[in-house]
């Protein structure tokens, strides 16, 4: 199998994105590089990335709802973490 990027992998998954209604809210002005690195390394969907100004960005659309970021950074970068609204989010067809 050819190497695949995480974006390519997520594109085969089935999502019902709750447009405009993120289930995870991060603190946009967080700059602690240690905390930021934790999230970048740990998110299995690679949804956290570092901005040029040292802040962090996050895209909830490809979230697999594992909760790793909540466990790691609940009281630092993650301001709110909930499951998506009913019927929204990832739908595993195999699991």
């Amino acid at each position: 199998m050819k190497a695949m990027t995480i974006e390519e992998k997520l594109s085969v998954d089935k999502f019902f994105v709750d447009e405009g209604n993120p289930h995870i809210i991060i603190s946009k002005d967080a700059v602690d590089p240690k905390e930021i690195q934790k999230l970048i390394k740990a998110c299995p969907a690679g949804l956290y990335s570092l901005n040029e100004d040292g802040t962090i960005s996050f895209d909830y659309a490809g979230c697999l709802e594992c909760g790793t970021c909540r466990v790691l950074c609940k009281n630092t970068i993650i301001k709110e973490w909930n499951y998506p609204q009913a019927t929204c989010g990832i739908e595993f067809r195999y699991g």
């Binding site: 992998k9 466990v71 595993f92």
Partner: protein, 428 residues
């Protein structure tokens, strides 16, 4: 549907649906609420189900349930970047009734079990997220979902490893990074005949394969491979508390694992069908929450009921047994019309008497043992080097086997080896 149910179960996974099945069969009015659009659609396993606990409840279930393959081959590999040293055990003994285990995919399997609960008379409501619990006079008396409130004598929290409801009601703390691991998994499709040829499998038989070492970049965790009917479940599991020290990200670990020289030929020409991730409770006995309170019990992953002993990870058979124990305790409580904490203590008592707590207790030192980084670095390297010395001939004068072995053991230190050996054996 009456206004009030006897029991509301949050989560139609294996623990929830098992409890629902038993309670509905006994004539209770049961509501199972699932946030996914169908049972299992938010669930992930590695994964293998040891049959014994479900076999007791639904005899010969594997003949009707959507199982992928019966496991008759167990493999374990020590892995370095360049090599893999593998133990391969193939036996029909692995497939005998009550000893058998099956590779399953949760989306399909959980739907089947939820349907069994429905056939028994339980009401299944999918696409509903429970936001909070109703509490009256210090007793859980139902659930809140959006604008709706639904009441019950007892609520069973079967809402998975990241049980926000058990946290809200104070039965468990926030999960700590060293208590859980994150698993990432790919479903890779292969034609059935090619898959059976590659893994040397008879029709319907399957392989379970665990990896330790470079697959997690030398950090705490491991890799896994299970054969489905016409796909492979391939993934890694890494302890969340150890990722900070890791050089690689989780997606990178997964991709590097796939490109390992021992894995690459196994998935050649395969097609990715799904990429998934999930948390796995790992601390076992040391992370047990308060399992019951007035009007509420916690089961399955929500209670952290998983045993991880390195070469084997078990959660689903414990989830099923905990669902059964909860159901029995509730039937008892129903008879007495007493749903107090004191009455529901029967649930813990039944768990204590079963393999669930006995096994969790037996292996309670293992998670600590796994925190030893030699297991993921020095030992796979040592085994690799010994094998290389035994098998590589390059024209240089050979050395006696004894000195070959000793030179590699000495790199780690004989004392370390003895110490780790004793600790490992003691924790199992």
């Amino acid at each position: 549907m009456s206004d009030k149910f006897d029991v509301i179960i949050v989560g139609a996974g294996l623990a929830g649906s098992t409890a629902g099945y038993i309670l509905a069969n006994a004539g209770l009015e049961v509501l199972i609420i699932e946030r996914g659009n169908s049972a299992g659609s938010k669930n992930v396993t590695g994964g293998r189900l040891y049959s014994h606990s479900l076999e007791k409840i639904i005899p010969n279930f594997a003949q009707e349930a959507p199982v992928e393959r019966k496991v008759t081959k167990e493999k374990i590999s020590f892995m370095t970047e360049e090599s893999a040293v593998t133990l391969d055990y193939h036996s029909i003994r692995l497939g005998k009734q009550f000893q058998d285990s099956y590779v399953v995919l949760r989306s399909e399997f959980d739907q089947w079990l939820a349907e069994k609960a429905e056939e028994a008379g339980a009401v299944l409501a999918t696409g509903v997220r429970v936001d909070d619990l109703l509490v009256k006079d210090g007793k859980v008396s139902g659930v809140i979902a959006g604008e709706d409130e639904m009441e019950a004598d007892v609520v069973i929290l079967a809402d998975g490893v990241n049980s926000l409801l058990a946290q809200k009601i104070g039965l468990r703390q926030e999960l700590k990074p060293h208590e859980v691991a994150v698993g990432a998994k790919e479903i890779i499709e292969l034609p059935q005949n090619i898959l059976e040829d590659r893994f040397n499998l008879n029709e319907g038989e399957g392989a379970s394969w665990m990896f330790v070492g470079s697959c997690t970049g030398g950090r705490i965790g491991g890799g896994f491979l299970y054969t489905n009917k016409d796909s492979i479940s391939l993934g890694i599991v890494a302890t969340v508390g150890d990722i900070e020290q890791s050089e690689k990200s989780i997606p990178q670990m997964m991709e590097d694992f796939k490109q390992h020289p021992s894995i690459r030929p196994l998935i050649k020409d395969g097609k990715l069908a799904e990429y998934s991730a999930h948390l796995v409770p790992e601390a076992g006995y040391n992370m047990l929450p308060k399992l019951y309170s007035n009007g509420v019990v916690v089961v399955g992953d929500a209670a952290g009921l998983v045993i991880n002993i390195g070469y084997m990870v078990r959660g689903m058979d414990l989830a099923i047994a905990s669902g059964e124990a909860a159901a029995k305790a509730i039937l008892d409580a129903k008879e007495k019309q007493d749903f107090s904490e004191q009455s529901l203590a029967k649930y813990k008592q039944l768990l204590d008497e079963s393999f669930v707590m006995k096994d969790l207790q037996l292996y309670k030192k293992f998670p600590e043992f796994m925190e030893n980084h030699r297991i993921f670095n020095e030992y796979p390297k040592m085994v690799d080097d010994i094998m290389a010395d035994l098998f590589i001939i390059d024209g240089q004068p050979s050395k006696p086997i004894k000195s070959k072995l000793l030179s590699h053991v000495k790199k780690i230190g004989i004392l370390n080896l003895i110490k780790d050996g004793i600790k490992g054996v003691k924790s199992l």
